[in-house]
Symmetry: C2
Subunit: 187 residues, 2 copies
């Protein structure tokens, strides 16, 4: 039996994306965002509230890094979404280590094992949010999350997802099927 | 030790979105897409290859439903991504049950327990993909995936994620934290 929920919108899984930027003084900031994802082979999309410090920084610097929140950094990742960068130097309070990306004018937070370094190629207000598209110039991954073949291994990365129904975080679980293969049973 | 992968783009978790549309003859079609997500409180975004039958249908009908691929429908969901709607009536071959949405001119695939009914509010080519924004007019959820409070329960839904590194499907796993709360440890 199906039940209607009208405009309520549940889409799963949502990611937990850590967006890091510099402000005009070179001070690093970070926020977390669930409304975003991949939008082409080498582009990522973010939809951010207009008022965020990150949004202001992006307009100015046209660059960001995007790290994948993971189980090992759960508390840190939630903290980046709790506090406003307008009031607090979150990077300093959290005590994380930051270096400047060699590809774009944005900070890399060393604690995250997987980070995309992106230049802003499009930024405009859409449906009440700032829609930002970033071109990925480099992905950096820590060797600790790679498998024997040198690929990113999600069992090691343990990416988080935001459960917007229960307002909790979940960790991505086990492999249950092979893409572009399991559906052959219906051919 | 961090390793550079240049333009290689891994973003996790990606969803597995089942996009269902009608063509000009009212024949239902479905595809799966991992490049999409939520883009505002009541909007969802898709980035689809220009050549898809779905893209043509969307241009014509300006409506779609978006179902969340789940563990119970893994084979079906992969099948929708294996075969082109230009050549095959996938709905017929898969033997699924379809009804017309009462909110938009698009088919609801009854087998999926969670479906968003959307009207297209924006559609344009961006970075080589068709960028589609849908406004959610209704969400329908089967009672079997609701918790005691009437909310969507991800432990019952078991949403899938596309692991683009290993090209596998993973199921969303256990709850590991509380959002907007666990970060307070750093305040």
């Amino acid at each position: 039996m199906k039940k209607n929920f009208w405009k309520k919108t549940i889409l799963a899984p949502l990611p937990v994306l850590i967006v890091a930027t510099y402000d005009e003084n070179g001070t690093p900031d970070a926020m977390n965002a669930a409304w975003g994802g991949q939008c082409s082979a080498h582009h990522v999309a973010l939809n951010l509230s207009i008022g965020h410090k990150t949004t202001k920084n992006l307009l100015q610097k046209r660059a960001f890094t995007l790290s994948i929140a993971n189980l090992d950094n759960l508390v840190l990742s939630d903290y980046f979404g709790l506090v406003s960068g307008h009031k607090t130097n979150k990077i300093e309070v959290a005590g994380v280590h930051v270096s400047k990306s060699v590809f774009v004018d944005a900070p890399v937070i060393e604690e995250y094992p997987l980070t995309l370094e992106c230049k802003v190629v499009s930024m405009e207000e859409r449906f009440g949010e700032m829609y930002v598209v970033g071109e990925v110039l480099n992905m950096q991954a820590d060797e600790s999350i790679l498998d024997a073949a040198g690929r990113v291994d999600y069992d090691k990365l343990k990416p988080l997802s935001f459960d917007s129904s229960a307002r909790t975080y979940r960790v991505l679980g086990e492999t249950v099927g092979t893409a572009f293969k399991d559906g052959e049973k219906l051919l």
